[in-house]
């Protein structure tokens, strides 16, 4: 199956791909998958090893919340001042938009997610929801327990689908996912250029598309598009400042677009929905493929819920250097607590590294654009003034 009409222009194909996660296109691939008699598993966390889900014959489909302001049905379960992504994700379950999901899975990454999974389990929507244990630190002892967690996921999936996950299939899936990661890395590599051929908003469009499409189809399409992207040119008003964006559960490209429209070039991100989704490969040559998968997931650039804040900061600083960034804009989702805490750890490190940094609250859905833009514009002015 091809993603689009081959007679379409490359730009049209790119547009179709990067807009896959827009509300009007979002369920398309999942519904196609269902038509083939196969199951779809909704994922709420980038730590659930997707290779296993795929090896069980299910489509791992990252749940995006409703992008609307109101979440009246979720409001029954969750007070307003709790993680807005979780509320909007719950809204999309309760309003029937996700009734096609056969199952859902996530980790107890933080209280909001744990309780969201608890609610899904209690109300049995989807019919089956699985909570996976994820340690918040990576060391010898926790890694061993995490491997057990991954094995438990494997057994759960086998029971759910009746499919035996063979090592051969698992290794094949690792190949597919590593190819996806490599392709996305190549796209990100292009962003290092002085005139990046894709915008930050487009990059987020691609990474969020990857998480809801059959990965092989995504890979084939992206591979064919790569040569085009390498030569693509986008008109830039100015090439500086170049920014790295931080945030979590940020899946609306409108937020990146807003920063770019304010006069910056967004060349890198620390989003769980972006770079952190595909960073680092699973070691394919490992004798024990489950352990290799476990290692990749627990050791990839971490969520702010992980204790290794200093490593997270160091990773961001490294990216800032590699991507030649002039500053960092963080858009923290309101009422999602960990970034509020990590903020102070980051300030300390970024100040030491001499990197300008701003952190602003945002909603989950696209809102308060005017206020945000004013803040970002002031930040950009500050960077430009400093450069002079």
């Amino acid at each position: 199956m091809k993603i689009s009409d081959t007679s379409a222009t490359m730009e049209d194909r790119f547009k179709a791909l990067k807009e896959s996660n827009r509300p009007e296109n979002r369920t398309k691939w999942a519904l196609e998958w269902k038509k083939q008699g196969k199951q779809v598993m909704g994922l709420l966390c980038s730590y659930v090893p997707e290779e296993l889900v795929s090896a069980a014959g299910m489509l791992p489909w990252r749940i995006t919340g409703t992008w609307k302001e109101a979440a009246p049905l979720a409001g029954v379960y969750r007070p307003e001042m709790t993680c807005r992504y979780c509320s909007h994700a719950l809204e999309s379950v309760l309003n029937g938009e996700l009734s096609f999901l056969d199952a859902a899975a996530g980790t107890q990454l933080d209280d909001d997610f744990k309780r969201l999974l608890d609610v899904l389990i209690a109300i049995r929507k989807p019919a089956f929801t699985y909570m996976m244990y994820l340690p918040h630190a990576s060391n010898r002892i926790t890694m061993a327990m995490w491997v057990k967690s991954v094995l438990d996921l494997q057994q759960t999936l086998e029971k759910l689908t009746g499919v035996k996950i063979t090592e051969k299939e698992l290794r094949r899936q690792v190949g597919i996912y590593n190819r996806m990661r490599t392709l996305l890395s190549k796209v990100y590599e292009l962003r290092k250029r002085d005139n990046p051929p894709i915008t930050g908003a487009e990059a987020l469009g691609l990474t969020t598309a990857a998480r809801i499409m059959p990965r092989e189809i995504f890979n084939d399409e992206l591979e064919e598009l790569l040569p085009y992207l390498e030569h693509r040119e986008i008109p830039l008003k100015r090439s500086r400042p170049r920014l790295l964006m931080c945030g979590e559960y940020l899946d609306h490209p409108g937020y990146v677009d807003l920063v770019e429209k304010a006069g910056a070039v967004v060349v890198m991100d620390d989003f769980d929905t972006g770079s952190r989704y595909f960073w680092d490969l699973v070691e394919e040559s490992s004798d024990n493929i489950i352990e290799a998968i476990a290692r990749r997931y627990l050791n990839k650039p971490g969520s702010s819920r992980m204790v290794n804040w200093n490593e997270q900061a160091a990773q961001i600083v490294k990216w800032v250097k590699e991507y030649d960034c002039d500053g960092i804009v963080e858009l923290r989702q309101l009422f999602s607590l960990p970034l509020d805490y990590r903020f102070f750890a980051l300030i300390k490190k970024f100040t030491a590294a001499g990197i300008p940094y701003i952190s602003v609250d945002r909603e989950y859905h696209l809102a308060n654009e005017g206020m945000l833009r004013t803040r970002v514009e002031a930040f950009i002015e500050m960077i430009l003034a400093k450069a002079k």
Partner: protein, 440 residues
């Protein structure tokens, strides 16, 4: 903010003076309606603050081992308890801290106690610890608040991660998870001994502290049975008095004695048929999670004939009701090693999956013959607030009792509207009474 500035004494000195003042007041003007054992309680609190004060002045190791005291103390650490300390700042003091929090962009949408402890420690109002253990056992805010303190003040810290499964529940003892926790604690001991000068693990000491902890909890189990009495002998304030483990105090023998005396006094009240609800007990409610501690909703309810026999805010109801193993209970017929014991008790109800949180509400309502739940939606506490509806639906289905959701902050009072709050309580009392009538 260094140890040498000794600015961390402000809070401790204030608390010592406060305890002394209270003891003096009781001595000069004894209030027969208050428990006589309160004198012992204030003594314990004062002695603890004095111990912290002296340790801090002398540069002795100060810190947080685990949530439980025996291991902390057997490592040679004086317990560091910033979270309960922050709880004492309600009212104006809390508002003052929130002004700092907002001005400096510190976490504001998290729960009050975790918001407040950050400026409290960073500004040196509460002493800087020499070691911090971070764990996910309670909730993200406490975990992150400890993590940020450790990170900003460069304090040696060690993370202990725990599974969400309730591995110590009677009949479900899970050896693998017990070992997981025990192994991590073992690593932590090595880390503390290597990084915190003056710390050395002493197993004999741990055994002794655990022994007193058992005696202490056994008293609390007796109290639980007394709480079931009709009319209820405890005021809402007493139900909310945070259960402080005996190992927190420098003298565990005195702590056990305090608990014994207090339980005895409550027993006397039960024998005499004394209740707190006036003019007579019409209703018994469970108050869940937290409340507006700067105000007094309990007296308002008690004057309407409503008793609050229990607060559901901790792991401890599991201990009290005997549903969860306490210190020294056998594990599949064998005695646990001191470190395994510690590992078992790290199983904290909030860190578990939702089913346990729901079940503890049902168990408490059953045990104590309750007619409804006031479920306080504390800002920034998703672990409890995002499960309220499931709790309400389950108790409704299983026990046919209603739940009131009431939103607010526990320490910061500037948005509190007493009229509105009480009006909601009154609404709810009416509904509970109607329900009770229809059940009868």
């Amino acid at each position: 903010m260094s140890n040498s500035s000794l600015s961390g004494l402000a809070y401790l000195e204030y608390e010592v003076a406060r305890c002394n003042r209270r003891m003096q007041r009781i001595k000069d003007n004894p209030d027969p309606s208050k428990p006589k054992s309160n004198v012992l309680l204030y003594e314990l609190e004062r002695d603890f603050r004095m111990e912290q004060l002296e340790a801090y002045k002398a540069g002795k190791p100060f810190g947080l081992g685990t949530q439980t005291g025996p291991l902390t103390r057997s490592l040679g650490l004086v317990p560091w308890d910033a979270v309960p300390a922050a709880d004492r700042t309600h009212g104006k003091e809390a508002t003052r801290y929130f002004d700092i929090i907002r001005r400096e962009g510190m976490p504001e949408h998290t729960c009050d106690r975790c918001s407040i402890l950050i400026p409290m420690v960073l500004r040196g109002d509460f002493p800087r610890p020499s070691f911090l253990a971070t764990t996910n056992y309670e909730c993200i805010p406490i975990f992150m608040a400890n993590l940020i303190v450790a990170n900003l003040l460069d304090i040696p810290s060690f993370h202990i991660d725990r599974h969400f499964k309730n591995y110590k529940a009677k009949g479900k003892e899970d050896d693998e998870l017990l070992k997981y926790m025990t192994d991590q604690l073992g690593e932590m001991i090595e880390y503390v001994e290597a990084h915190v000068p003056g710390c050395k693990y002493n197993e004999d000491m741990e055994i002794e502290w655990q022994h007193y902890e058992r005696l202490y909890v056994q008293q609390a189990q007796k109290l639980w049975k007394l709480k079931a009495a009709i009319p209820c002998p405890l005021s809402g304030r007493e139900s909310f008095r945070e259960f402080r483990p005996s190992s927190l105090y420098p003298d565990p023998v005195k702590a056990v004695e305090y608990m014994r005396q207090y339980v005895e006094e409550v027993g006397e009240r039960v024998d005499k048929g004394l209740g707190v609800a006036q003019p007579e007990e019409r209703l018994r409610l469970l108050w869940s999670v937290a409340g507006p501690f700067y105000a007094d909703p309990f007296s308002y309810l008690e004057n309407m004939g409503v008793a609050i026999p229990a607060a559901e805010m901790t792991i401890y109801n599991g201990w009290f009701s005997g549903r969860e193993s306490i210190w020294g209970d056998p594990w599949k017929g064998r005695k646990l090693s001191p470190l395994e014991e510690e590992a078992r008790q790290m199983d904290f109800v909030w860190g578990r999956a939702g089913e346990a949180w729901v079940q503890t509400h049902i168990d408490t309502c059953r045990d104590l013959h309750l007619d409804g739940i006031v479920y306080f939606i504390q800002w920034g506490c998703p672990v409890t607030s995002a499960l309220g509806k499931i709790v309400a639906d389950t108790v409704e289905a299983q026990l046919s009792i209603p739940t009131l959701f009431i939103e607010g902050r526990m320490l910061e009072s500037s948005i509190y509207d007493e009229k509105d709050f009480n009006s909601k309580l009154k609404d709810f009392v009416d509904i509970c009474l109607e329900r009770k009538k229809s059940h009868a």
